[in-house]
Symmetry: C2
Subunit: 241 residues, 2 copies
DNA sequence: CGATATGTTGAAGTTAATCAAATCTTGTGG
DNA sequence: CCACAAGATTTGATTAACTTCAACATATCG
């Protein structure tokens, strides 16, 4: 029975934290769990929006394709995070493409129409959703600032430090949530540059790279880089007004 | 009597479009109009959030200040647009600084507390707000994509073409909504680079620059630039999956 | 086990930042 | 109304970061 799994996943999502039992159950009732193969499309740009999603296992890769075929990864969604909620309230079409990162990726899909209905009748849900979106908005702005103001090295360092770290007998490490190609696209650098940066830090003894696993040996050093040390960064201008 | 002015301004804002008369009147009732001097602070980062704003005349300049004093313009708000709504639902503190762009800038301030109360009790308002925020979110993501994927020239061209164009006996023109220094900061280029780009296009006969007024003589050429022609742009990668 | 995609490394070219300094604006006090 | 000071804008020369191009190495999948 997947209801239990669905319940478990949705409980972990901020959107539904403050929801009273009865409403939460209704949301669970309008949801279903689906398993995807690696690279399988979850939806395509301009598809009509059937609902939004929460990741249970694996990952979702949101990206856009330019007219000339180049693609840009906008977000890599990890377990327990929601995505595509905004599409519900917009044009009713998904504004991006979405594929599964790993074989066996599991997503909970919350049906759009019934959810919208519930949304309209329940202020608590509305407020929780709005709060969640504000968070996302600020996240996007933060990412934006990062990407623009800082050099490639700072972006990568910041990104790595932002990944959920795990512990091990060999120390702290993080797992890249997708291929290095995608990470590079997300950070808006070429795969070559990404590779070279990892290499440099590896040579400096700050990290070790084994496939998609990065062992962090000197987080403070990365922190310094991520705060603008070293990189080019637009030195911008001093206050005024 | 400023109520008429307030009513007039708020009617033009998407957030309140779908509101029935009675609710709209209540929103008007919790708003006040205020005039600012050039460069005057509207609020500072971390100030407690008293409410949010709509521009009636002039402009609002939202920016952040880095620890070392450098500032970055995140948004320049023009008449009939709202800002700082997100702060209401977040921590209750403004996440940025805001100053008035022009002498005599007029802003409508909608008081936060009563508005939130109304928001909680009125699903229609909630939905309109959410829709507005989704728009903003997509706007931010769009801006982000621009800033990152495209070169300085493409960003500027795109920005210019996005400004509201006016007509004149001498043709089409746009008015920069703030100083070139601020525009440069917003586009994340140095003032020097901005100046050089305008110069180049001016030499090519595509535009004429007279202070903050730009006459557009060859919009298609700018359009080509803004679509990635010329610029460096991360040539990224071809499809897959 | 071979084919295709991903990741790595090296050399060269370009964009845009930085540094330095001149010129133009704007607001102020005389 | 004019001279001056402060800031904004422009221009030139230099420099560094990152992309691009090319080629090799390593995975991954059928």
């Amino acid at each position: 029975m997947s209801h239990h799994a669905i319940r478990q996943v949705l409980q972990g999502v901020p959107h539904f934290q403050s929801l009273r039992r009865e409403l939460f159950d209704r949301v669970v009732g309008m949801s279903r769990l689906r398993v995807y193969r690696k690279g399988e499309f979850v939806f395509r740009q301009d598809d009509p929006c059937r609902g939004f999603f929460v990741v249970r296992r694996g990952g979702a890769r949101l990206y856009r394709v330019a007219p000339d075929g180049r693609e840009r990864v906008l977000r890599i969604v990890s377990p327990n995070s929601a995505f595509a909620e905004a599409a519900l309230f917009q044009s009713g079409h998904y504004p991006v493409f979405c594929t599964a990162v790993d074989e066996g990726t599991e997503l909970v899909e919350i049906a759009g129409a019934p959810f919208l209905e519930l949304f309209r009748s329940e202020a608590a849900l509305a407020e929780a959703m709005v709060a969640g979106m504000c968070r996302r908005l600020h996240g996007a702005i933060g990412h934006m600032e990062e990407l623009i103001a800082l050099g490639a090295g700072a972006r990568l360092a910041h990104y790595i430090l932002g990944l959920p770290g795990r512990e091990d007998e060999s120390g702290t490490f993080v797992e890249l949530p997708s291929s290095k190609k995608d990470i590079a696209s997300y950070l808006s650098v070429t795969p070559e540059t990404l590779s070279r940066l990892l290499r440099r830090w590896s040579d400096l003894g700050w990290i070790s790279v084994r496939g998609s696993r990065l062992d962090i040996h000197d987080a403070p050093a990365l922190g310094a880089i991520s705060d603008g040390a070293e990189g080019p960064a637009v030195k911008s201008f001093r206050a005024g007004a």
